[in-house]
Symmetry: C2
Subunit: 418 residues, 2 copies
Amino acid sequence: MNIKFAMTEMGRAARDAERMVAGASVEQRNQALIEIQRALASDRDRLLAANAQDLEIGRQSDLDAALLDRLAVTPARLDVLEEGLSQVAALPDPIGQISDERVMPSGISVGTMRVPLGVIGLIYESRPNVTIEAASLCLKAGNAVILRGGSEAIHSNTALGESLTSGLAAAGLPAGAAQVVPFVDRAAVSALVTMPEFIDLVVPRGGKGLIERVMAESQVAVLKHLDGICHVYIDSEADTEKAHRIAVNAKTQRYGTCNTMETLLIAKAQTGMLPALVTALQEEGVEVRGCDGARDAAPAIVVDATEADWATEYLAPVLSIRVVDGVDEAMAHIAQYSSNHTESIVTENKATAARFLREVDSGSVMHNASTRFADGFEYGLGAEIGISTGKLHARGPVGLEGLTSRKYIVRGDGHIRQ
Amino acid sequence: MNIKFAMTEMGRAARDAERMVAGASVEQRNQALIEIQRALASDRDRLLAANAQDLEIGRQSDLDAALLDRLAVTPARLDVLEEGLSQVAALPDPIGQISDERVMPSGISVGTMRVPLGVIGLIYESRPNVTIEAASLCLKAGNAVILRGGSEAIHSNTALGESLTSGLAAAGLPAGAAQVVPFVDRAAVSALVTMPEFIDLVVPRGGKGLIERVMAESQVAVLKHLDGICHVYIDSEADTEKAHRIAVNAKTQRYGTCNTMETLLIAKAQTGMLPALVTALQEEGVEVRGCDGARDAAPAIVVDATEADWATEYLAPVLSIRVVDGVDEAMAHIAQYSSNHTESIVTENKATAARFLREVDSGSVMHNASTRFADGFEYGLGAEIGISTGKLHARGPVGLEGLTSRKYIVRGDGHIRQ
């Protein structure tokens, strides 16, 4: 099959390029980012023309306005992309450092060195910006990358791929280091996720449908987040002013993001603060649903929260509220319904906070802070390839370090094992 | 299907137990190890009787002597097991520590906490000791574990499972925290590796056939090593005395282990040392195979090394030798044939060593040391669940830390995102 064969060739080229990128000095990798930046600048007309094609086809196929907006490449967005390349180039080199080195009783010294992962397969939708953002992170971390964007952005991504190729060439790196898949056929995704010999990690970014398809098919490790069903729990010993502020922020600061609160858990002792909180949320346009206890405490809640609400990521101005006895019932609810993305407790009791921080099994667990902080930039990672809700390898916001691995380094002076 | 249903119930029990083990203090987890030790001591007669059944069945089915030896549980081996439980109890608690905590510009403090992985599925062969050794590591790291040993050890493992249950009960932990699969049917393995809702990580330990079957079937992340095709490269600037000593040790100290050298690469400039080295190896009973260059340099080599040799893990007193131009050709050979387990360079040139350490993509990379050092105990991990040749999550020898993950911990004082 033609696409399968072509994808295999891309995989082989990436695997071949991998050693060159991994072996490149940080100066050369940074140079590649700067050359890509230059290529983007000199290719502007070509990039905007290619994007215009995608936009025209998108309008003809009645893509909705939000999708068309995500698809658009504008001079202002290219400015941001170019600035982003400088920022990634300025980040510290994530590879090569040796840590935890110590001399063992046998006399050998043992440490670990941070090393590139190898070849990353990125599968994403709509935003052509991702092509450059993801490529820059993968290259900075010494990896090769194969980029497979959405079919609606194929002309834009192919054009951006040419800028990647010419930037890499100017820095003396092979084109295989960052390749854009030129096929819109879904068979290209199937091929990409079933070549463990050439791909070390697949990162799907997009809707739940895309991620579930990739997980079902993949023979390669997948770094993904599925849902963000995030909780804030207002403890019986919470400061009500902080609790009010955090709950409103966690729900209303943005609605479509994965770290937005979807369910508020509140201790019975705190239901006195519910009427004012519900009013504040409703004034922001949030539809509030509640369990019986919540509705009793705040009659302004007119919609029942059902079992289905606890398991739903609304990604919309909707919030479900449940009254619980205390932190144990809150943690039991979270264990049952959370997507293990981000949960926060509001309390002034340090022992209760410590239990929550320790026992809640999510990528980010917070005390007296809004779930909206769960983000690679807010955590100081410098950049973010995504947020992982898996437990293995990388968890929570994933920056450059999540695109690396560690190997053991052993040094001796002729040491042999007795 | 009955086994599938029963395995699901075990998975559910493990998932339920997981929160209790993860939430247990280190004192309670250590207490469980000591109670298991006590149970083993008081159950000795029952354990030896159960093992006698397995040994009798094994003899009737003509198991070979080496396998019967691995299967045997003796008072001396129980002593070692009991001592091992004390040692694991004495190791530092791998979970709960918070690292890298720092205050971000927004005012929140961000760090990471080491946490248990969840539920581990262990699949192994022959040695019933593994039942206790693996359970103790999983419990120490705050995990629940489901143990599936070989069918030839079913009576021994079931009996050991009863000791686990009574030890856990005495420490106030649920039986679901460490369960032995009571079914010999292979369907139990299939069920175990296809319940991602209950199992977080599968660790297969055993022959290549077992591991390949698990990898093909598993819907759960697999921590495994497949082959140990380990290389020693003697550089043109090697100290020949160290090179001789390391090569002999890496090959002959033990033959059946995964970190034993299988191929020796030697720079053309060093072939003068080959005759003495080949003689030393042959005196130890090693069959030496060589490329043309090696055979020219050491006529005592009478067997040609073929393409198949470079890709073979002998696990036996056989060694293939290849002459290369220098470090580049050596690294290219390793990139092509290595199983990414352990490789060592012998050289006095620090720049060459640094390149090798950095560019060779294996779990352990060594300089002037025998590959036989690649081992959790030699690396000071205190214990070892296995050696991973994968790149993700855990790589090289895997101790308690590989049975844990990290989550982000965020602390604020009412902080909201702007």
